[in-house]
């Protein structure tokens, strides 16, 4: 936080500080509520609140575009996914939330360790040190590179941050941008394969057929086509997803 504030133009007045604290408190409080509430649906609602307040934090950083995206994608689409999963498992399944003492202690210890390390790094004896990008940073020597990213971002004053995002995304980060398309493709394939409906009964004659074929000829035909679909349907019979009736 300190470091980001150092980079930010100091023009922002007390209003920004107030807004920051309001959103920060809401974000933290709702995050704690998410992991402590017994009712999963209440937890999900708290998560929405958390997403919204993080959107607010983006706003105080003058990145309205990211803020809107945060609300639309996280507060909207991803929350819908969360709720669907909750409804898929059933709202009354609070046994999913049981954790034994050892897990609990480990989780708390791990979280405390991470939080402590981050706090120490930022608020420890090093706070007074300027970051490379801070206003107090020493001038870069010959052959050294000065701060690259943050300063540019703050020079942009139009397009609510989206223009800057577009400029860097479509020039410097062309390659990861195209990789992101592959990532979404893989995600699509995964969604189609793994979440395919499983509510059909097995067709045994097809399976017997397959078994015979497999015994005959190990290099024979594969499972494409109708027989493949039958094999898959058979999976549905004993798979864990057979409880989805009555939706």
């Amino acid at each position: 936080m300190t470091l980001l504030a150092q980079v930010a133009p100091t023009a922002g007045g007390t209003a920004e500080v107030v807004v920051f604290w309001v959103f920060a408190v809401i974000a933290l409080g709702s995050a704690i509520a998410v992991i402590s509430l017994r009712n999963v649906v209440h937890g999900a609602v708290m998560l929405v609140l958390n997403f919204l307040s993080i959107g607010g934090l983006f706003l105080t950083l003058e990145s309205a575009f990211l803020s809107v995206i945060q609300v639309l994608v996280y507060g909207g689409a991803i929350m819908v996914l969360f709720l669907f999963v909750i409804m898929l498992l059933g709202v009354d399944r609070d046994d999913l939330l049981q954790a034994d003492l050892r897990t609990r202690v480990l989780a708390i210890a791990g979280g405390a360790l991470l939080a402590g390390a981050v706090l120490f790094a930022f608020v420890g004896p090093y706070t007074s040190e300027a970051s490379v990008c801070g206003p107090d940073a020493p001038a870069p020597g010959p052959g050294e590179v000065a701060c690259a990213g943050l300063a540019e971002a703050y020079d942009e004053d139009d397009g609510a941050g989206a223009r800057f995002l577009g400029r860097s995304l479509f020039t410097t980060y062309t390659y990861p941008f195209e990789l992101a398309a592959l990532l979404l493709t893989v995600a699509t394939i995964g969604a189609v394969i793994l979440a395919r409906r499983r509510d059909l009964e097995p067709e045994d004659e097809d399976l017997a057929d397959l078994d015979a074929a497999a015994a005959d000829d190990l290099d024979g035909d594969d499972l494409d086509g109708a027989s493949g679909a039958a094999a898959e349907r058979h999976v549905a019979g004993d798979g864990p997803g057979t409880t989805e009736r009555g939706g």
Partner: protein, 119 residues
């Protein structure tokens, strides 16, 4: 800077005040004459059974939502691209064509595999 968002804040405040106010006023002002029949849950004239797991959704909803999310993210990329489109010129056009083309293949695959069929 933040002052620009003051109207939005006001809108939020008014909206929440209206929501809370409506509930509060109706519970304060409206007449209340409860009786057992009114309070019981109505389910085709029968008493509802206690623990029917009827609130579960099918996995099909989840898949549609997930696929929606994937193409939602594609749309998110389009916005900053549109803002700097002129500066990027043909390079930007080719870049986005490749991106949309790759996702187009994913989309065709999804349709071909029946990812969008309900039954």
């Amino acid at each position: 800077m933040l002052a620009e968002y003051l109207p939005i804040l006001l809108l939020f405040l008014v909206a929440s005040a209206f929501a809370v106010g409506s509930v509060a006023v109706s519970s304060l002002v409206g007449p209340r004459q409860p009786n057992p029949t009114k309070l019981s849950a109505y389910e085709s004239g029968n008493e509802p059974l206690a623990d029917v797991p009827g609130t579960r959704f099918s996995v099909k909803f989840y898949m549609v939502a997930m696929l929606f999310l994937i193409f939602d993210i594609e749309a998110v990329f389009l916005y900053p691209w549109a803002l700097v489109f002129r500066e990027l010129g043909w390079f930007g056009l080719g870049q986005m064509a490749l991106f949309v083309g790759i996702l187009g293949v994913a989309f065709i695959y999804e349709i071909g595999r029946g990812g969008l069929e309900w039954d």
